[in-house]
Symmetry: C2
Subunit: 350 residues, 2 copies
């Protein structure tokens, strides 16, 4: 690509401010170093091997990704310590997982015997070894199991060929889960089952990771870019938000009815306080509705409104889903495009 | 791809029931034939040239798409009558538009002199002719202008080299807009400006198109697949919904907390009555929350709940945004995969 100046970019395009991203990578690693826990970035936020490499260069021990197909992309890019904190279910997926495990250290999470048995069958077929963490159900009640069932599952894993019981996983690892975690660790200790890893995760959880000294590693994704959700939750300030969607005003016939060329295909349909993104140039503007290709903005609260052709920059509500919508992200410093990244693991739903 | 049986498909995958799609294509065309108006399918719903070809084979006159980059994909696939009902703004985009117009009949919509002038400059540079419809603002107050301004814009287009004023556009073309439309047509007639096309659009609007006899054509997209929004709005029954997201149960430790492998990356974050999709096998199940890779389902209201490994089929809330998330759609009849379509214009945001 010949272009090198932001001004020449088509809109809507997703810019990543590299100075901000560099700071975010360094400060999260420093936080984990200070806590004396390992850091494992979740690549779902960017889906780009080059960014993961920068995270590893800063000190991360490996990556986490959510899908076997994402892991395949990162394996091909040279990554050799891949955790998939997900129940991998289905014969095609477990076979692909076993193939991965022949080439890299692969760790998955499980919360039932059915999931363990499916993976074990594929691992044995391929003569692969797959590391397993048992997931404890968190206060968010997503996947995961109870302390008592965790013990049973750990025993089951330890007794199964081609599987290695590595420890426990929690998402999000809020400090309030500590009694459950401690109970599980005691049950495992009493049963003589060693625990190497206690893997925590979550953008909020990293802030209270010092209250969970049992953790040996943390998985966080969003911090690399942060987003309006992060700001709204108190995890970051706008000055730490590296991603912005560059968008053009295409209609401005009324101040209360200005339309941008960034809609739900560009900034995604999640909201903060009924707004779909924070417009840097007009903090009081309300991006209050999206169609696929139209962003509806009300500038009534602003002194002036933009005109057709003006370029605006939107901090999205949730970065991870935005990366998944775009084929490229643009790494910029000031007005210069320093990186054109293909979002290599975009759309990897398998 | 060697597979030919739905059972072998990875999940989450998007299936299109071809019998239902065929019926939807035929019945929309029949409706327009009966109204004696031209039909122009909006391809944003599927983004697949082969499906657009089936729509043209059934009698459609051309296609509508929302972006220059989508038009480029369809031009490359052989389509030669392309409408882009959108304000095309910015020098790179207008130049690409002019290039398209050298190879196909290209029609755009405009709602300001700024948009007209930008396109005119590019068209003149390329010696292309671009057809323009002036957009009337609808009751939805998105883009568009007033009857009085529409007359001024029509005059401006008619007086500009390389542009051809073709008529008017309204979205959605609800019957209630008729007084505005009639007023605009009278102004144009009195000014001696001929109107060839009055283009209406919208899934709801087609149902009242007989109340707007000024229409010469209709643009509808969603009808080809329909979705839960369509059912909820009374436009279709579930038996007309052709798209379903095939998904696997990956966690089922509690009946109220079952997790599917289809999250916001597979079924998208729009809702009907607080639910993210309608599960065909369990109409009383509540798909009440999504993370990117997790669909949270509460089966409390169902007699039985599924177990890990079970496959469920979800009718999504909004088909167009689902197509944009996936690299392939699978056309199926019964258990057989008859078509594996690349979503050729997926992610085309420019």
């Amino acid at each position: 690509m010949a272009m090198s100046i932001v001004e020449d970019l088509e809109t809507p395009s997703v810019l990543i401010d590299l100075d901000i991203m560099d700071r975010n990578i360094a400060s999260m690693q420093a936080r984990c170093d200070e806590l004396e826990i390992q850091f494992r970035p979740h690549i779902k936020t960017h889906k780009i091997p080059d960014i993961a490499r920068r995270q590893l260069d800063a000190g991360a021990v490996g990556i986490a990704c959510q899908k076997v197909s994402e892991a395949e992309v990162f394996l091909a890019a040279g990554f050799r310590d891949i955790q998939i904190p997900y129940n991998i279910v289905g014969r095609r997926k477990t076979r692909r997982l076993a193939s991965l495990a022949k080439l890299a250290k692969v760790t998955v999470t499980v919360d039932s015997a059915a999931v363990i048995d499916g993976i074990a069958a594929a691992a044995q077929e391929s003569d692969a070894t797959i590391n397993m963490l048992v997931e404890l159900v968190s206060l968010d009640k997503r996947t995961g199991t109870t302390p008592e069932d965790a013990l049973q599952l750990a025993r089951h894993i330890a007794a199964t060929d081609s599987l290695h019981f590595a420890g426990l996983m929690i998402y999000p690892s809020a400090a309030a889960i500590r009694p459950h975690l401690q109970k599980t660790l005691t049950l495992l200790k009493d049963a003589g089952i060693p625990v190497e890893v206690v893997s925590g995760g979550g953008s909020g959880a990293i802030r209270e990771a010092h209250l969970l000294p049992e953790l040996t590693e943390m998985r966080v994704g969003t911090y690399v870019f942060y987003d309006w959700n992060s700001v709204n939750s108190g995890y970051a300030g706008f000055e730490s938000c590296a991603m912005r969607v560059r968008s053009t005003v295409v209609s401005a016939n009324e101040k209360s009815r200005v339309i941008l060329d960034g809609g739900s295909k560009a900034v995604h349909s999640e909201t903060v306080n009924g707004r779909y993104g924070y417009i840097l140039e007009y903090p009081d503007a309300r991006l209050h509705k999206l169609n696929e290709e139209h962003g509806y903005v009300d500038f009534s609260a602003c002194e002036v409104a933009p005109v057709v052709g003006d370029i605006l920059h939107i901090i999205p509500v949730h970065t991870c889903v935005v990366s998944n919508l775009h084929n490229q992200l643009y790494g910029v410093r000031g007005d210069k495009i320093e990186q054109v990244w293909d979002v290599a693991a975009r759309g990897m739903v398998w």
